[in-house]
Each structure stands twice: as structure tokens, then as C-alpha cells.
């Protein structure tokens, strides 16, 4: 999730009982790979979270995503900025060309970048995409120099800190990275402009909660993956463009170019939203494990919102309503104004401690979001898209 915030209003969705959606109930034979061969969604999220791909440098994550998508799509390609685009074709529709649905989850993560290699070998840095500098002291990092180098972000011992300094939060200008290298060694291996990722193991907490870095927004990529898994069991005529976008954190940039290239009939972004946690007002957050958030507001086409919430109700998928009065700060914002305009929806996974290395979410929310997305895609046809016209 980028700079702008989604405001969340807790709400309930009216459940009208099973609807008239025969198509949805009519699940096809399970032609998917054996469960054993499938990468389980949690394992995929773990691999993504522990991988490295700061905005603009998503190469390794992109390769990982392409491999994971490949069994469930007809083709995978990368566009010129590095967006990973998987195309899963639908069954041939009776009424003309297939509808194109674009799913966007951003695979870039916030990180750091070297601004100076000092004489004694310490590195100075600034952030890429909005790392919370209060959370940086004493972190472990990987510096992507001529080779990957382990490092730590050093802090002055408290014994040597004046009372004045102790009262203030450290700024990134006060911090440095220690690689254990001498000045000469550091200058040989590291350049100004080399990228740095935080190092953090994926951790399973209790009650299906997991913690790690870069869930913003590799959780969204995991939701897309889960949706692809679920689509194996459903009939759908829409062509699905599963896009893991680049450079969202530096300005929704990958969504701008990938939406231009895909030319979708409608788009759904999957990003994270604020989960409940101490110190944050209830009206700005959503509880974890109560289902994904579905956004409503100017960035969202009302009928896409309506379809998502209706299907959730019919299928008994719990969800939460996120009221987003203005810019959502997500790829949905960029997709909406691509070319002559794209009707857009937005699903948010509630996330605690956003933009830190201990982002926390519930796996259950990812599963539910993936299922909701798959059911929604299965419901989309030419008539639905025509109905989106004003």
C-alpha cells in the first residue's frame, strides 16, 4: 500500500442466503495438479516474504512469481518495467471475444539504498518507498553489492547517549550499516546506489497468524495465487491477467504501464489495509481473520463492489467493508484511469504494523480473499461488463 491511506469503517454485509448463481455452484472436475505438487499458498507467501525485491529491482521475486503461476496459466511474460503478467484463458464464451480481467498485486517491497560508502567502511543510506525509520535501529540487512553481503544497522550504546538525544527518535541520517568490512573492502564491493533489503524470517504465530516483511504487498500476490488455485475448480469464460506489479511503493508505476499493456475490461487490485492493533483508532482499522476488506468509494466501480459483496454473502465468505473516500493509494488508483478508463475493484488484507519487518496478517484472510476473487471471476461475463457502463 502506497502513501495514501485507506480508511476502514467496520461494517457488516447483509447475507441474503444462497442466490441464483447456479454457475458458481457448478464446480467442474478437479483437473488441478495433485495437491502434493501444488505449492501451498502459505509456503509461497513465506518464499515471497523472505525473497528480495525492492521497488525497481524486483527481478528475483518476479522469477519466483512466474514459476508459481506457470502451472495455472497459459502464458507468463514480463513487460518492459518488469511486471510479471500471467494469462489464464477462460473457456470460449458464446457471445464474442472473452472479457479481460486484470488482477494486480504488487511484488515490490520497501527497502533502503546506499548513499555513501564511508572511509571506515560504514554505509550511509536512505529509504526507497517509505520504510519507517523508527523501526530501523538494530535491524539485520542484506546489502546487494557486487555480491550479497550481510549487515547490521548500528546504534550508539545507550551509555554514551546524552539525555537530550535519548528523548528523540533516531532518524535514518543518524544510522549506518556495518558490514564488518574495512573501508577499502567496502569500496570494492559496494557502490552508491546499491539496494538493501531488511532480513527477516517468516514466522508463524498462533491462530493462523503469520509475521514477516514485505507482506505489503506480497500478500496480494499470494491472494492472486490462491485465486488461480481456486479457478482450477471453477468454470470461467473471462481471460484472467494475473499481474504481479512493480514499483507500487514509489508511485503505482508498474500498474500504470501494465494496465496500459493489458487493456483490461475491468481490474481488481489486491493490497493490504490497516489491521487492528493497540494505539490505532478502531475506526481506521479492521480486525484480523474476519475476512478480507472490500473497498467502496470513488476509486471503485459501484457494481464491482456490489458484485464482490453479493458473492461473498451468497457463498458465506465473511468480509469487511473499507470506506475509501479518496485516493486509495493502491494499484486500483492507477488502473482506474488507464487509457479511456477501467472499472475497478479493490480487496484489502488487514495487516498489522504496515511498512515494518514484522507485518502481521491472518492466512485465513488470504484464503478467503482468493476464493472470493475466483468466484467473482467465474461470475464475470460480457453481460456483466456491458452492465458496468453508465
Amino acid at each position: 500500500m502506497g502513501e495514501n491511506v485507506i480508511r476502514v469503517c467496520p461494517g457488516t454485509v447483509r447475507v441474503d442466503g444462497p442466490g441464483q448463481w447456479g454457475r458458481l455452484a457448478e464446480e467442474g472436475p478437479d483437473t488441478a495438479l495433485d495437491t502434493a505438487e501444488r505449492l501451498e499458498t502459505k509456503s509461497f507467501l513465506k518464499a515471497l516474504s523472505e525473497g528480495s525485491g525492492v521497488s525497481g529491482y524486483e527481478g528475483p521475486i518476479g522469477a519466483m512469481v512466474a514459476e508459481a503461476f506457470r502451472p495455472f496459466v497459459d502464458e507468463v511474460r514480463f513487460d518492459k518495467l518488469g511486471n510479471c503478467i500471467g494469462l489464464r484463458r477462460g473457456e470460449k464464451p458464446k457471445d464474442g471475444p472473452p472479457v479481460k480481467v486484470m488482477l494486480a498485486g504488487h511484488m515490490d517491497e520497501i527497502g533502503l539504498i546506499v548513499t555513501k560508502v564511508e572511509e571506515r567502511g560504514f554505509l550511509r543510506f536512505t529509504d526507497v518507498g517509505g520504510v519507517d525509520q523508527r523501526t530501523l535501529p538494530a535491524q539485520e540487512v542484506v546489502v546487494h553489492g557486487r555480491k550479497d553481503l550481510p549487515g547490521v544497522i548500528g546504534v550508539k550504546p545507550p551509555h554514551l547517549v546524552s539525555p537530550d538525544e535519548a528523548a528523540k527518535a533516531l532518524k535514518k541520517e543518524d544510522l549506518y550499516i556495518d558490514l564488518g568490512l574495512t573501508g577499502a573492502e567496502a569500496k570494492k564491493l559496494v557502490n552508491v546506489g546499491d539496494l538493501i533489503t531488511l532480513r527477516r524470517d517468516f514466522t508463524e504465530l498462533k491462530n493462523g497468524l503469520v509475521a514477516g516483511k514485505a507482506f505489503d504487498d506480497r500478500a496480494g500476490v499470494a491472494v492472486i495465487y490462491e485465486a488461480l488455485l481456486q479457478l482450477e475448480k471453477l468454470h470461467h469464460t473471462a481471460d484472467v491477467y494475473a499481474v504481479a506489479t512493480v514499483q507500487e511503493e514509489t508511485g503505482l508505476r508498474g500498474a500504470i504501464t501494465s494496465a496500459y499493456g493489458v487493456v483490461p475490461d475491468l481490474g481488481v487490485a489486491i493490497d493490504v489495509s490497516f489491521g487492528d492493533q493497540p494505539g490505532v483508532p478502531e475506526h481506521q482499522t479492521a480486525p484480523l481473520d474476519k475476512g478480507p476488506g472490500v473497498a467502496v468509494g470513488g476509486n471503485i466501480h459501484p457494481k464491482v463492489y456490489e458484485a464482490l459483496t453479493r458473492i461473498a454473502g451468497e457463498q458465506g465468505i465473511s468480509l469487511q467493508i473499507e470506506a475509501s473516500p479518496g485516493a486509495t493509494g493502491t494499484d486500483a488508483w492507477a488502473m482506474q484511469v488507464s487509457r479511456a478508463g477501467v472499472p475497478t475493484g479493490l480487496i484489502g488484507i488487514p495487516l498489522r504494523s504496515m511498512h515494518t519487518s514484522v507485518e502481521t496478517l491472518a492466512m485465513g484472510d488470504i484464503k478467503k480473499a482468493g476464493r472470493l476473487l475466483a468466484l467473482f471471476i467465474a461470475s464475470v461475463d460480457r453481460a456483466f461488463v456491458e452492465g458496468l457502463r453508465w
Partner: protein
């Protein structure tokens, strides 16, 4: 090359009023390109064709012609002009400056009496063009007229100073590269853009029309080498700066690496640049259509957006060689 730089920096051309500078650049670049045209927003697009006609890349180079300035918003009874800024111009730096309008009319920036220097804002400033009253002022200038800094070029030896080095120095680098580039395997579009200072607008539309394979902006960047300045690794005299990142762009890793490789091969001094605030035309180019791999060659510059922007002549020449080295070779991305 100093004569070329002098001519470009001294020519008038705030954002949206690029007629005079476009005419000057067209005269300078025309002999070295195969064709030149002006697009609907006023971008000057000059093309040098590939020597063999095929196989090369379509490369868009962008240097912006416009400069920051001010615009008249009101003329009072006594003939004083009130104004707003065009682009990132600051009231602190305007105080006591002279500005010049398209027709050569010169004005002095004066200030109301201030109780505290911190109160200095645009609405406390006015321009005095020497008019006795409103009628006389209105004969000379009108609402909506634009003015730029009124300053000349000075050659300090190794270092050069003037207003509007941002980004006429980039334009000069492009013209010089076009001049020295005898043959190229690529289709090279030398685009002199409008309205960069008000939001990369000329680059946006020109890139859409050119539809390049690769985009390269040539623009100025800050340095970190002045007393108690903001820390930054770039320094004057340190060579051509190859951008890694700024607010508008994360340079495409392959474009960035290509630039560094050319610099190393041709033994051109270079430095990597991470700019924490600010952007260039490459920010607009790389988001064009389905995406354009892009980067920026930066000319290290002190005191950017003041009337006295300083560059190092050695750095300027390094940028010319680097640009020539990049577009003059076959490129595989």
C-alpha cells in the same frame, strides 16, 4: 562549447513560454540532425537516423528547454506588479533579483516591510518595472506575462555559472553530442522538452508520440559538497552522474548498468547518484504506454533554482562523451 552554453542559458524561456529558446536550439541543432519538428505542446523533436536504417534501438533523449520564473497576477494603482511562481522558485532567492520579460522589459523584485524575515512569502513581494502608475505599467506588461531571472553567463575557468543551467546545460550536452556523433546504429530522438519545471509535461506527450525503446533524460542534479549542505555523494568535478533513483524514477537497472559500462569502457569519469528529492523527464518517459526502460545522465550542479547555478566544465564534457558513447553503440537490452 562555452559559446553554445552562453547562448542557451542567456535566452529567455520560462515554462510555457519556450518560443525564443526553442528557436535558438533549433538553429544550433539543425545542422547535425536529419529532421526536426515541433509537436502541439511545443516540444522540439530532432531526429538523427540510424546509419544502416534497421536493427538499432529508438532512443529518446530529453533535455528540458524551460526554466523556472514568475508570472504577473495583478497590477496595482501605482504600477507595481504582484506575481506567482512558475516551477520551484523561492521568495527568499527572488528578493532583490531582477527579472526579465519576453520583450526585454526588466523588473526589480521588491518587498513590503516585514516584522520578521520568516514572513517572506510571494504575497509580500512585488515587481517594480519603473512605471509611474498603472496605465504606464499596463502599456509595458500584462496579466499572465512571464519573466525569468535576469542574469548573464560567467566563465569562472573550470566552473561555469549562470541562471537556467537547469536545464539548458542538458540541452547543450545533447546538441554537442549530436554535433560530434558522426554515425549511429540507432534512431536517436533529441527531444528538447517544454514545461518540465511544472510537472514533466512536455516529456509526457513527446514520449507518447515518439514511443521509444529506451528513454534517457539529461538534466542537472544536486551536489553534497558545499559547506554544511545536505549529505549526498555527488560532487562537482566528480564526472558525469549516473542516476540510480530520484522521486520520479528508479532508473532501469539495465540502463543504469549500460551507462556505467560505457563510462568504464571509454574511461569517462562518472559517479552514481541517489537524489532524495526531485525528478526529471525520465520520470514521465518511463511510464509512457506499456513502459519504457529509462535512465538519466545528470550534470552535477550547485545552487540549483537560484540565479547562479554552477557546473564544472569537465563534468559537462564527461556527460557529452557518455551520451555519445551510449547512443553511438549498438544496444542490447
Amino acid at each position: 562549447m562555452k559559446e553554445l552554453i552562453k547562448r542557451l542559458v542567456e535566452t529567455y524561456g520560462p515554462s510555457g513560454s519556450e518560443d525564443q529558446i526553442r528557436k535558438a536550439i533549433l538553429e544550433e541543432v539543425r545542422p547535425y540532425v536529419d529532421e526536426a519538428r515541433v509537436d502541439p505542446l511545443g516540444n522540439l523533436i530532432a531526429v538523427k537516423h540510424a546509419a544502416k536504417g534497421n536493427g538499432g534501438k529508438k532512443i529518446m533523449l530529453a533535455g528540458h528547454m524551460d526554466e523556472i520564473g514568475v508570472m504577473v497576477t495583478h497590477i496595482d494603482e501605482k504600477g507595481f506588479l504582484r506575481f506567482g511562481g512558475i516551477g520551484g522558485i523561492s521568495p527568499q532567492i527572488l528578493l532583490g533579483e531582477r527579472v526579465v520579460f519576453a520583450d526585454g522589459t526588466v523588473g526589480i523584485v521588491g518587498v513590503e516591510r516585514l516584522d520578521d524575515p520568516k514572513d517572506l512569502r510571494f504575497d509580500k513581494l512585488f515587481i517594480d518595472i519603473g512605471a509611474k502608475d498603472k496605465a504606464q505599467a499596463e502599456k509595458a506588461v500584462g496579466i499572465g506575462w512571464s519573466a525569468g531571472y535576469y542574469r548573464t553567463f560567467d566563465d569562472l575557468g573550470d566552473r561555469l555559472v549562470s541562471k537556467a543551467m537547469d536545464d539548458r546545460i542538458g540541452c547543450a550536452v545533447m546538441i554537442q553530442a549530436a554535433k560530434e556523433l558522426k554515425k549511429t546504429p540507432n534512431e536517436v530522438y533529441f527531444v528538447f522538452t517544454v514545461q518540465e519545471e511544472v510537472g514533466l509535461r512536455g516529456a509526457r506527450t513527446s514520449a507518447f508520440a515518439v514511443d521509444p525503446d529506451i528513454g534517457i533524460a539529461i538534466d542537472v542534479t544536486r551536489t553534497g559538497d558545499t559547506p554544511k549542505g545536505l549529505p549526498m555523494a555527488v560532487e562537482l568535478g566528480g564526472g558525469a552522474a549516473i542516476k540510480v533513483k530520484d522521486s520520479s524514477l528508479v532508473a532501469h537497472p539495465k540502463v543504469k548498468d549500460l551507462m556505467a559500462e560505457v563510462a568504464r569502457t571509454d574511461k569517462i569519469p562518472y559517479q552514481f547518484e541517489v537524489l532524495e528529492a526531485g525528478g526529471t523527464d525520465a520520470g514521465a518517459i518511463h511510464l509512457t504506454k506499456a513502459g519504457v526502460p529509462s535512465g538519466t545522465i545528470s550534470i552535477p550542479t550547485r545552487y540549483i533554482h537560484t540565479p547562479s547555478e554552477v557546473v564544472d566544465y569537465g563534468d559537462v564534457q564527461a556527460c557529452v562523451r557518455l551520451l555519445k558513447g551510449i547512443v553511438g553503440r549498438p544496444i542490447g537490452l
